[in-house]
């Protein structure tokens, strides 16, 4: 359960990040956050795990306010950033995955267990001892996902997880996302190419200039997304066309 109430945020240089954003997401949903460049998607995601704290309003995850318990929030909400390179910190694949659990101060055997489990989930066990910067783009992306899985969060947030991946890479990441959803986690995804994930989406959150301009099931919002700088999936466009012929 995620709840935002009247969240305002502006950056130090005056840029508006979020303006009066309020909405709620029930646990277990797969949510797509869409909007033009600079509409505040990344800013929104960063509020969910307390990387940014609202200047007004509140953000709650499972009833915990991000202002009250940062370590708790960070453990509960995992974030996969857009640039894999910026978030791979370990010198080997296994070491990188261990970074999160280490920060949770877990005992060593438990860390080992989680690392193996996470690497198995993204099929990277065989690269365990490799240096991360030698991985391919798709493998790096999966590594960053493993780093989050190892923290066993209840909510996982992805910022542009499909960018510069080929079809196979997109499918693999999508499989991870669906597996997370299947295991009952809440997943939020931002993307400019919503057609890659829309078929599995429970809810769309539309942003424009830091405001929430739409929220609800995809079928409701897809016909108008182009107004907000989001490409309408061909299938949806076709559907709309067909419906208008029929009427």
């Amino acid at each position: 359960m995620i709840r935002l109430a009247n969240v305002h945020f502006s950056y130090a240089d005056g840029n508006i990040g979020l303006q009066d954003v309020s909405f709620g997401i029930p646990a277990g949903e797969l949510v797509v956050v869409a909007g033009a460049n600079g509409s505040g998607k990344t800013t929104l995601l960063k509020h969910l795990n307390g990387l940014l704290l609202p200047q007004r309003g509140r953000v709650e995850v499972d009833g915990i306010c991000t202002r009250d318990d940062l370590p708790g929030i960070r453990q509960r909400v995992g974030m996969v950033f857009q640039h894999a390179d910026a978030q791979i910190v370990g010198e080997t694949v296994a070491e990188d995955v261990a970074f999160g659990p280490e920060n949770l101060c877990l005992p060593r055997p438990e860390i080992e267990r989680r690392v193996t489990e996470a690497l198995e989930a993204v099929s990277l066990v065989h690269k365990k001892h490799q240096r991360p910067h030698l991985l391919s783009g798709g493998e790096k992306r999966r590594l960053t996902i493993a780093g989050i899985l190892a923290m066993q969060p209840a909510v996982v947030v992805f910022d542009e997880p499909f960018s510069s991946l080929d079809l196979f890479g997109v499918r693999q990441v999508l499989r991870q996302i669906l597996a997370l959803k299947a295991s009952g986690r809440t997943v939020l995804v931002t993307t400019h190419d919503i057609d890659k994930i829309i078929a599995h989406t429970d809810r769309v959150v539309l942003m424009q200039e830091g405001r929430l301009v739409g929220e609800g099931p995809p079928s409701q919002w897809l016909p108008v997304v182009e107004r907000y700088g989001v490409r309408q999936p061909e299938a949806s466009r076709l559907g709309v066309a067909v419906r208008s012929w029929l009427n």
């Binding site: 240089d13 795990n49 370590p71 390179d85 978030q87 910190v89 920060n103 910067h133």
Partner: protein, 251 residues
């Protein structure tokens, strides 16, 4: 200042903007010398001049204050050290630490001088287009032996270009660390490497990419020279600055 956002060129049309960069550079040197050499009595008029110059630029003062806060802390430190360490008539005496009147006075003068030197430097960088800055470097270094002036100019330009990008990348890596429970409270000393290694790797790769992109745009060491032309107004400004220096030295 961490962002170098106030520092750095701001487009405008003030007199300082219009000066030829070579003259401006010389004037900067001359006035800096005047500030450093001026006896305290002469500081008043010089400061007034600098403040007026500043007013003509219309910089956002509040943001500036925020960005140079580290510098201000520094000035405070300089002031306090001077106040405590200069022998003289004691004003405050506290547990063996004594603040002398001479110390206060000297501290204030030194801090003020530093402030004015910074202010002059800021006028120069905020009114000088980076390409002209590079041109000035090139002009300045041309007579220096063993130095390839255009290359040096390119390097200074690249430094200016890299600094904000570096800040950005450090910030990104830090928030990625924080997202996994590292960062601020928990970034133990041993974990500094988690910040340093990936950041270094990224920036080195980015530099490589930049070199490649420059090559792709046909980078050459012989390139169109920056064009500079001085006018009568430049000569006048130069003469005025020289007069200020002469006057301060005379007093």
């Amino acid at each position: 200042m961490a962002e170098l956002s106030v520092f750095g060129y701001r487009h405008g049309r003030s007199p300082a903007h219009r000066l030829d960069v070579r003259c401006k550079l010389i004037i900067l040197l001359v006035l800096t010398a005047a500030v450093v050499a001026a006896p305290p009595v002469a500081m008043g008029p010089i400061s007034l001049g600098i403040i007026l110059l500043w007013a003509s630029l219309r910089l956002p003062l509040r943001r500036l204050g925020r960005e140079i806060r580290l510098f201000l802390v520094f000035l405070m430190a300089v002031f306090i050290v001077r106040a405590l360490s200069t022998p003289g008539v004691s004003v405050v005496d506290w547990h063996g630490l004594s603040v002398s009147r001479e110390g206060l006075y000297q501290g204030a003068v030194v801090a003020w001088r530093l402030m004015m030197v910074l202010a002059l430097g800021l006028v120069f960088v905020t009114t000088t287009r980076p390409s002209h800055l590079k041109a000035a470097v090139q002009w300045l270094l041309r007579p220096v032996p063993f130095v390839h002036a255009p290359k040096a100019a390119t390097m200074v330009g690249l430094i200016v270009r890299f600094i904000p990008v570096l800040h950005q990348q450090v910030r990104e890596t830090r928030s990625a660390l924080a997202a996994r429970g590292g960062g601020r409270q928990r970034l133990r000393l041993g974990q500094i490497r988690y910040l340093v290694f990936p950041t270094m790797r990224r920036v080195v790769l980015a530099a490589d990419q930049l070199a490649l992109a420059m090559l792709a745009r046909g980078y050459q060491e012989t390139r169109t020279e920056p064009d500079l032309h001085a006018t009568a107004a430049d000569g006048l400004a130069l003469a005025a600055a020289a007069a200020v220096l002469a006057a301060t030295l005379m007093i």
